[in-house]
Amino acid sequence: MKSERKNKNLKKEIIKLYLKNISRPLRIIAGDPLALTGVFILLFLTMVGIFAPFLALYDPNETHIKTEGVVFSFEESLFRDEWISDLPLNEIKIIEDKPYTVGDGGFMASREKGTWTTWELTTEEDLFGLSFLRGEFGVVAGSGGTLLMYENGEWRKEDTGFTGTFYDVQLVRENFGLAVGQEGTIYKWDGTNWEQVSSPTPNDLHGIALLDQDNGFIVGSRGTILKWENGNLSPEMVMTIRDFFDIDIISSGFAAAVGERGTIFFYNGQRWSEQYGPETRELRSVIIRDENDIYVAGRFGISLNYDGLRWDRVDNPYRRHFRSLALFEDKLMVVGTDPYVNELASPTWAHPFGTTHIGRDVFSQVVFGTRTALFIGFVTALFVSIVGVNVGLLAGYFKGLLDDLLMRFVDIMYALPFEPFAMILVLVFEPSLWIVFLSIGLLTWRTNARIIRSQVLSLSERPFVKAAKVVGANNARIIYLHIAPNILPLAFLQLAVAMGWAITAEATLSFLGLGPPRIYSWGTILHAARLSGAWRTAWWWIIPPGVLIMLTVSSVFFLSRSLEVLTNPRLEGEIEDARD
């Protein structure tokens, strides 16, 4: 009866003891502003990790595609890109020394004295063709059979009955013009109406180049070139099946057509001959100044010049898609762009940390990386602490042979270099989360075990342990009820240290490519940046993960520094004997 009550009291006391030893570190931290800051940073990062899916702006694997309507001006050695529309621009023409452009979503704009003005059109259709005789008379053409005539400040929608897409339109005189589009569609303007012309081809037609009412060409897909001569259409013999996208002609009768896979054809007045340019990708637009000065633009920022003898690339800093080009004040002016991968974009509101070399959002990767880093850091540290504490307890308490054995084992662990050990594991097995966990776990508990052991060695000589032995308490009871509570603060400190180390270690292994390949962590982000080679300039990609590692590790450090008071008696009185 009496012993039972005593037992109960003892249990209470022991619980109190554990609590006391846990609460002490907390009180110490609360009194140290640096440690407190560290704790707040760690708590904040933990929250980021837990709520990663809500905080991430995008799926970290999503490739970000961007569409916009941009005018690129090539001025001397200077390049200017003006964003004027959310959607791609399809055509640019210079009319009476003023650039005009049309694009998707019924967009049309013209530039005057350096500023672009948007025209109010009554359509939402994508516009592909634009032709003005002068500022007061013109036409735009586009999808949904759209043909809009402009006359004396008024827009008039032409009803043609055609519902497909017009790809190009050209007016030559007030009473003559042509419009071409899908499936070989050709319409002719006679001054009052657009009339359908019977077409010799079922292929899509993309471009028109008329010299006058009686001479010109129409180009289209699958190598189609139609000759317009005195009101008649006849197919030209061209040795290609590639799609043509654009054609231009000059008064001498010389013409040039461009198309997919770098296709270029010249017309010398009699026949078409293939040219071998330096590009194999899609060419979208051509403009001829004279036979010895031809410009071509295409996808991925292609711009070429032909000087009568050979083709040269016109250097420009863009990789975006060009759709149409014009010569404005003797300089190239190009419009685009098709959807392009928003790669290596510097930070914007949409992508606070910019994007990677394949257009992925760095911010979202970092947020998910925080989750991985902290998770691995904490789980590994916990594992390491449990193993280390138990080995230390057993070795320090039992001494003798067991101690010798365990400590020699620790010595072996000390002789293993960390990164090379992980590399050997990867060599024998495969890169995975387990390798990271295993190599950090196996090589970190050694320090914990040593430190705990030396503490236990001194504790087990204390009177309260001897007293417990005399009373006849068994070993497990002495170890876990009498000694263990006393080393809890130390174990707590070691947990913090191990966590800081594990986070750096994980980052290091992942950086070397030894970690799991498809999981984001701070290390894998830096690994990807290094592999891409873009890290040398893309500071937004490598600074955030590194700064976060630095923040975490130094937080952990400040935390452990303030906890050192617990383990270094010289810093603050003697450690109290847990029993008084």
């Binding site: 010595d411 270099p417 090379p420 590399m423 950086f511 830096l526 890290w535 590194g546 130094s554």
Partner: protein, 328 residues
């Protein structure tokens, strides 16, 4: 226990640990890769050639015999032929090790000259802003992953400002020269400086803090009071008398650091494309070049063991107060 037996015992321990590591490696490899010649088949090895290799390395023998052959080869430093380079492993490793040693030597020299000097200064200026500031900076460098610091350093000093070369050991093209003539060229030093400074700054915190802490201890001892009593300047007391006595833990830490640095700077060698042992081992792992990876690993482990041993012996030699108790 007298000095001689202590040295012998520590030596014996190190040898046994090394033997255990060799053994561990053997079984780890056999566990993951029962027949190493399997990896060679992709290289176009015919059945007969494969049998020949198997016989030479005793792969057709029972496991026990294989183990003995492996031990014998390791002891004779016969690590076989690299799968990737098709050349003896020993020669490749020899060259890479020298490259790593040069890099690490300079890095550790930098950190173990600046570190202790700063440490003395810190203990002198205890409690000032200077102390807090220096500790904070050193810790910042310590908490940043060293490969990241290296990347930032390259980004700033090589790409943006063009002061240092971004990678490699020498400017391409270069003539083949001997190791010694190579390392005493300006070009080589130019390449060496940025990586070794990066590692040096990473390592500087440890000797600095150790030095500061031991200095604080030493400054409380009687002979310091005596020096002061004799009317010496504080600087002289600090650097000539106190620092000498506080240097011991720094020296032993230096030995341990050298051991770890040999294998520990795989990342910095990777970032700076420094053709050292660590980078070579990483490439060997990528190429599944078992002999090369295995030999590199053993060399690094041996280096750690030797340096730890030296640290222990140094400690016992330099500090007469240490009682030889067999490493307990």
């Amino acid at each position: 226990m007298n000095k001689g037996t202590y040295v012998l015992k520590r030596l014996g321990q190190s040898v046994i640990i090394f033997w255990i590591i060799i053994t561990m490696l053997f079984f780890l490899f056999r566990l993951g890769l029962p027949d190493p010649t399997q990896a060679l088949i992709a290289e176009g090895l015919s059945r007969e050639e494969r049998a020949l290799v198997q016989e030479r390395f005793g792969l057709d023998q029972p496991l026990g015999t294989q183990y003995l052959i492996y031990l014998r080869n390791t002891l004779r430093l016969e690590f076989g032929t690299s799968f990737y380079y098709k050349a003896p492993v020993a020669g490749i490793i020899h060259e890479r090790l020298l490259n790593t040693l040069v890099l690490m030597f300079l890095a550790i020299l930098i950190s173990y000259i600046i570190g202790p000097l700063l440490g003395v200064l810190l203990s002198w200026k205890r409690g000032t802003r200077f102390e807090a500031g220096s500790i904070a900076v050193a810790l910042l460098f310590r908490s940043a992953p060293v490969f990241w610091t290296g990347m930032i350093a390259i980004m700033l000093f090589s790409i943006r400002w063009g002061i240092f070369p971004a990678s490699g050991m020498r400017t391409i093209p270069f003539a083949e020269t001997t190791f010694l003539t190579k390392i005493f060229t300006l070009d080589f030093l130019h390449h060496l400086l940025l990586p070794s400074l990066t590692i040096g700054l990473y390592y500087v915190g440890l000797p600095m803090l150790i030095m500061r802490n031991t200095m604080l201890e030493v400054m409380g001892e009687d002979f310091i009071e005596l020096c002061r009593g004799k009317g010496m300047s504080e600087g002289r007391v600090m650097y000539r008398h106190a620092a000498r006595n506080a240097l011991l833990p720094v020296v032993t830490q230096a030995a341990v650091t050298i051991g770890l640095a040999i294998g520990g700077q795989v990342v910095i060698e990777t970032v700076f494309s420094w053709p050292g042992l660590g980078r070579e081992m990483l490439q060997a792992v990528r190429n599944s070049d078992y002999p090369l990876a295995q030999a590199s690993f053993l060399l690094m482990a041996a280096m750690i063991l030797v340096m730890n041993l030296i640290a222990d012996l140094l400690y016992s030699y330099l500090d007469p107060r240490v009682v030889y108790r067999g490493g307990k």
